[in-house]
Symmetry: C2
Subunit: 109 residues, 2 copies
């Protein structure tokens, strides 16, 4: 972990926190300023800002400057790419295993 923070590491780490998942859900529905988000959680503004930064580094959200506010938007493609990609992989492995089991059963018949 010293080096080699690939995209999947960043995305899964970003998702491994209930507050960040909640932020992601909210901004996916509608963009929110950082301070508007900060008011929702029982923690300091700076803490929420850090959570947003983690989501941003994972490219799960983007920020759009609007006047003096910074509007956070959800970026669904990163999520679909990484998480969906992983699901595909396991789906494929699982299906191959099912096929193999079927094959073995047929051999025994």
């Amino acid at each position: 972990m010293v080096v080699g923070e690939d995209g999947a590491d960043l995305v899964f780490h970003a998702l491994a926190d209930a507050t960040r998942r909640d932020i992601l859900t909210r901004v996916s529905r509608a963009g929110q300023s950082v301070s508007a988000l900060a008011r929702l959680y029982p923690m300091s503004f700076a803490a929420v800002q850090k959570h947003v930064a983690v989501l941003e580094r994972a490219e799960l959200v983007t920020k759009e400057r609007r006047g003096r506010e910074q509007i956070v938007h959800g970026n669904p493609s990163a999520l679909r790419d990484v998480v969906g990609g992983l699901m595909d992989t396991y789906e494929r492995i699982w299906r191959q295993r099912a096929d193999r089991i079927t094959e073995l059963l047929q051999e025994e018949t």
Copy 2:
């Protein structure tokens, strides 16, 4: 985060490490003993054992004692439940947003 480690926290945290994702992929294809896994990575047996423990706590793998070895198996249902559930959520939000956009466009017509 002091308290409240729900299933999703555990699953995503478990996936936020390339070594653990690799272990999960391998054991999903075919069960492996802990020591067989340990030989694959440039780290101590104890370190790999800890990685397996993290996957086990997230219920992404199960262990089956077989003689003096402990065989690690992949457990795809946990992955599908949590990750698939999240994907569903965002899929739904995304679709609603698309609907809303369509709606707005129609109103303007």
